[in-house]
Amino acid sequence: MTLGLAVKEWGQHRRALLGVTALITSQVVLLLSFVLTQESPTLLRAATAFAWGGGPILAAFTARRLFVLEHEQGTISLLRALPLPAEQLTGVKFALALLVNLAFTLGALWIVALLVHRQELIPLAWLLRLSVQVASYVFAWVAICCLMAHLGVYRHALWLLLLLFMLGLDDVVHEPARYLFWTAPLADNLEVTRYAAPWDGVALALAWGLGATGLTFFLSGYRGGAWVDALYAPMSGRRRAQITAAIFATLLAFEIGADLAKRGTQSAGGLSTIGSVAYAQPDLQVLAERLNAELPPLSEFLQTDLPIVTLAWRHDDRPELALTETLSDQEMIIGLSPAGPQDDLLRHALTDVLGAHTGFLLEQNPRAGVWALGFAAYWLEKRGTAKIHPVRDAAAFVARRAPQAPVQDYDEVRASLGRSGAEALGWLAWRSVDAAGTEPTQVLARALFSTARRRASVGLLASSAIDPVEILTNEGLSPRSLDRSTQDGLRELAQQRPALPSIPPPSFWAESQGLGGLRWSLPSGLDPEQVTLWWGTVEPLSKLPTPQGRIYEVPIHGSWGRAALNADPRERVITQWSIDGVNQGWTELHRP
């Protein structure tokens, strides 16, 4: 019976299957070539990208061919009249759908792995884990598509509602694709699975898949499949109208629900205002006050109206302390990371206020970028309203690494020293100008920041024309003496920061299943009061050990000790010692 049915399916769908094979092959080849151009850390991304995007399409296609066509062509009545239990009919077709989908997606994965294994290291264990992830994802999709195929003429409306539900939930729930739906096994960055498979995601997909399979078999078997046959009866005009109305009502409910949810969030915090600075959460009040205290004198100094600012905490994994959205010419919102110290946040916010005011165009001018970045640190230090330790640390780093760094070439500075290095160099440059007098400082600052610019070609051209060295030369300052002054500052900083004792990076002590903590030992003679231990996480394949989100301090009470590490076993953890406020650099923690 089973074999007969399988042979029939092969005969009926073999041509379509050959077409699909050709289509899938070309898709995978296209993805592979795309991934090659993207400099992806692993070419296996082509196969998982195919599973992610092509898997659902293939599952819907096979479910349609195997189940829907029988109803649409009426051949289901032939099958129903045969001595074949409805459950067995569904079982054979379901198994074939699963087999075909797994064969294509896992086949693509293994073939790509075979093709690229000479170019990159693909451990077998990782490949097997990936296969389980892909298989669970595909199983869930096949089960859901087969279930939908049993919902007759209502399936299109239900697909639409499901899609709307999934998209709508995005606004309400944190990463539903990762924590709620069957998409979980492939929702993680592929490279993360090098370290550990997302077993919770696999379990979630299996639960969805098993649930949908159970419902499919229930529907197909209940009363000999009569329910399903009834669901395939053509819809009357009245029923069609009811369904359309139901979809619109659901859409509307979602819209209103999402709006209410957003409104609820706002009213929980509310927007409070101090001067020209608004803030979304109460614990931003101090920062808002400090920023508001800076803006009027700065506005006066620059002879320009600065934008109205709204401050809000950001809860994402981005490493930036401040991220700015320009709402209009005169309004901006700054999303701040709760991980940042207040002084640093104030400096970043001030830099972004000036950036937003000038359309962030100065950073595109290599001659002005360093100056634009370093002004806020100079301003705050000059007024004595914030400490700028990180800028000083970065300048010390620049002094040792690149004492001849060119202030007038932002691109080069940023490439070799990073954004913080450029900021530090800019700060020193402003200090050098300031040493020559307030007048040239004000002239240069006004030239750079006093004209509000938009991100348009005219603004870009105008910003590109600004040459700080030329402006300063016109003010009677010699570029050479400025460079000398800046480099003197660097030298001075390097001398102020003698070589600090080196502390070995902390090691990992394992407890169970990747959990455990940090163990450290300080060199003799170093006072624990002088040191701070930080840890954070880094992006899976990042070559630079830079923390991607919040960083955490580990309390140090003695010259040796250990502390629990509250990090996901799948994540890459980095640690950093800081002695007397001077960071020693991040090191990756090796965990088994």
Binding site: S77, R80, G224
Partner: protein, 284 residues
């Protein structure tokens, strides 16, 4: 009436009900199909014949009542019971891409007692070519193919839903002859629905008249003539006699056979066609 589970009835139902939404299509019918006979299931379009047949095949679950096949009472006919039933539906939905031979092989794979030789014989007798694609067959030939497929596993009961609808007169004759032969030669029970009264008269032993979901009459084809007779217009009818239809040539009247015998009224036999028409009009 005898217990439907006893050996006299090959197929029987008790209080069979089926609704579509609020509309009751089959209203508690008690079907009795005698063993080895040809049963003509007569009714107008929309009377509920196809719905009843789909319930008999287990393709549609009843909302009430029981179905007795081979002496076993069930709420629904099972796949196992279908091993012993041959079925020809009103419209043939075959896999058009298959050849007749491939379709035979596919269908045969589901039956324990499938006989390839029997299929070959039936196809030859009904003039259906094995190597032809199903999609190329005419409606009448598809019906003959369905009949051959329904008989090739030598079923005990053959159920057909309007097997002669849309077929030409020659094919119709071949099909009816084959049905008659199934009962007479093979001893099979044949249950077929139709709205052609003449077909029931031609090949039927028993007739069941279904009207708007109600079973109006069930019994031997000739038996209806003992209940419904024509009397001269204006005849004085006593109690127990029910006038079904007034016609110029005579009144069609319904009464129990003993009442006819004892009344001494001058009456004559009516055709099944006339009797069916009179019953249907009266009910309407």
């Amino acid at each position: 009436m005898a217990n439907p589970s006893n050996g006299r009835w090959a197929l029987a139902t008790k209080g069979l009900i089926r609704r579509f939404g609020a509309r009751e299509v089959v209203r508690g019918i008690d079907l009795r199909v005698p063993q080895g006979k040809v049963y003509g299931f007569l009714g107008r379009n929309g009377a509920g014949k196809t719905t009843t047949i789909r319930m008999l095949m287990g393709m549609l679950p009843p909302h009430g009542g029981q179905i007795h096949v081979g002496g076993r009472a069930r709420a629904r006919v099972t796949a196992e019971q279908r091993q012993h039933i041959g079925y020809v539906s009103q419209q043939q939905h075959f896999y058009e891409w298959m050849t007749v031979e491939q379709l035979g092989r596919f269908v045969g794979g589901f039956y324990k007692q499938w006989e390839e030789e029997e299929l070959t014989y039936l196809l030859q007798r009904l003039h259906v070519q094995s190597d032809q694609r199903v999609g190329e067959l005419s409606g009448g030939t598809k019906m003959k193919l369905a009949l051959a497929l329904a008989l090739a596993h030598r079923p005990q009961i053959l159920i057909l839903d309007e097997p002669t609808a849309g077929v030409d007169p020659i094919a119709r004759r071949e099909i009816l002859e084959l049905l008659r032969a199934q009962a007479e030669v093979e001893g099979r029970t044949v249950f077929f629905s139709t709205h052609q009264i003449v077909e029931v008269e031609e090949v039927g032993d028993w007739v069941g008249i279904l009207h708007e979901g109600y079973m109006l009459y069930q019994g031997p084809v000739g038996g209806l003539a003992e209940w419904i007779r024509r009397v001269p217009p204006g005849t004085a009818l006593g109690p127990g006699f029910r006038l079904l239809l007034e016609k110029a040539e005579g009144w069609i009247v319904l009464a129990k056979p003993p009442d006819w015998q004892s009344s001494g009224l001058p009456s004559e036999t009516v055709s099944l066609d006339e009797a069916f028409y009179a019953i249907a009009r009266e009910v309407d």
